[in-house]
Amino acid sequence: MITISQLSKQYHGKTVLDVPELTLEDGQLVGLVGNNGAGKTTMMRLMLDLIRATSGSVSIDGARVDEDPIWKYSTGSFLDASFLIDFYTPEEFFAFIAEAYSIAPEELSRRLAQYETLMSGEILGTKKMIHDFSNGNRQKIGIIGAMLVNPRVLILDEPFNYLDPSSQIVVAKLIRRMNRELGTTVLVSSHNLNSISDICDRILLLDKGRLLMDKVHVPGEEDAELEAYFLDAAGR
């Protein structure tokens, strides 16, 4: 369970995030949407203790992330390229993650096999450094790196960026499967409302750092209220 309490972040006196209370229950698949500058990435960075909160706190399973690093053992995350060791080959990168999470080599091979469809033969065995892959394949490596540890909490920022339509579908299925089979609590952000609507059972809408909507959602269904918000924002 992720609990946010009186969380705010300011840059140079300007508030970029202000969320008084929010709880993500175990096993929920939550989508985070909002336009540029809404505070989605800031919220995720605070959840991962990458930046200091101006006030308030984030707790995962009851432990504050900025005080107790226990959350790292049960959390998988991928926000951007700074999560990749780009002078490693994908095999080396996955082996590095496996060692950090004490995953045995045989188990690593078994888990990697689950992502073969996503990798579509373009990632393993190429002897290339991650730096030399296309943005799309780098994105896939980062997502697999986060999911590989079978986390109890999975945090992904814009996972559908750079991916071709087929890979977007595969990633969406993988996230949904992990959530169903392992009961992983997932927080996934996207600019693309359709991608979020397809898989999430709860959607949060951020607007200029504030939580504007928090809705229960039926995966696969369109949400008229959210669509109206974005249409309205486009016309503003």
């Binding site: 930046i51 700074s82 999560f83 590095f96 950090a100 290339k128 450094m129 730096h131």
Partner: protein
Amino acid sequence: MTTLKTLLRLFFRQFSKERKREFIAIFVLVAYFWFIEIFSILKAGAAEKMSPSTAGTVLLVVLLLDFFLKLIQQHDNTVMDAFLKTRPIPQKLWNRFLRLSHCWEPLNLMFPLGLLPIWFFTLPFGRALLMFVASYLFSVAGGIVVMRLKRRGPYAPEKAKVHKTHDSALTGRVRMGSVGLQVKALLRSKRLMVSGLLLSASFYFYFLARVADGRSSRDAMLLVFLCVFSSLATQYGFSMEARFFNGLWTKPFPVRRLLEDKYAFSGFLTVLGGLLALPVFLFYHIPLWVLWSRMIFVAGLAPLAFLVKPFVCVPYDPFNPAHFNSAGRTQGTFNVAALLSFILMALAIALIHAFLPSDTQEYLLTGLGVAGFLARKPFFAWVERCFLRERHLYMDKYNGQ
């Protein structure tokens, strides 16, 4: 239309905002040169004694050194950044700007400024001024020549450049954890690796020449040689890791382990260096105890000096060649805190060498090395605590905020 004035304004804005540390580092080094030169000149009483031919020889040697240093250190800065490439900037204008920018490049200023005391203490004023101007002009010209030598083709940035990995037996055997991270960071950054090898080779041959000359094998050159790779492995390692520190931080990967593994890797490199120096000791019948004591000292204590402030670093990107991309440039020179630690350590060694009898030196160096080894865990725990207290400030800097 973009003008030369616009490009120069951009250049100086970048200088004042992002490359200040690089300039400071060069000036610290120049000040160090001055101290050594003035101290040596005064000690030798050589003021106003250099003949024109000697001055010419010194100039030639230094210019050659300056040129080779640029061949190693100067990276290709002729590639236009994407934000310039996509605008109408004539190639002629860009070339003029590149040539002009060499007048302020720190690498082109280092030697001419560093040599000032030698000229002004040993030559008449007019000739000294002439030597300074000549060294500066030759250094700038050398910089431009190296730039032309290293220049890529006009469409190089657009080409998909593939860096194939060359897994040596060494990298194949290491585990994939943090030590693997250290080894691969060094092996896959060509610039870092070549710099380290050339620096080591030059110190090695200097040490060899001094021993062959019949000078004391106990001088600091052996220690400097042993320290080179240790220094690179410890200082640059964090600059490489700063680029993906977000990924490390969100995994159960203790910061202390990064430090401990850097210490282990540095020790491994010191042993390699010691093995390279061993034939010299055997050939010239120098007591091996001299080598062992220095190896123990460098392996045990030196990395602690280099790791006093390891997290104060600029992310180093070994892949990005664009002109205005300054990431890693400062670190491409050195970490000021580590340099100061190194100078302090060198001074301590000089004092030990000057005032203590031979055997006592060996005992003391061994003792200090062992003490460093024993103190490493509490030391790293302290460094980790310091980092954790200020981690968000460091991480903001790594993320460019």
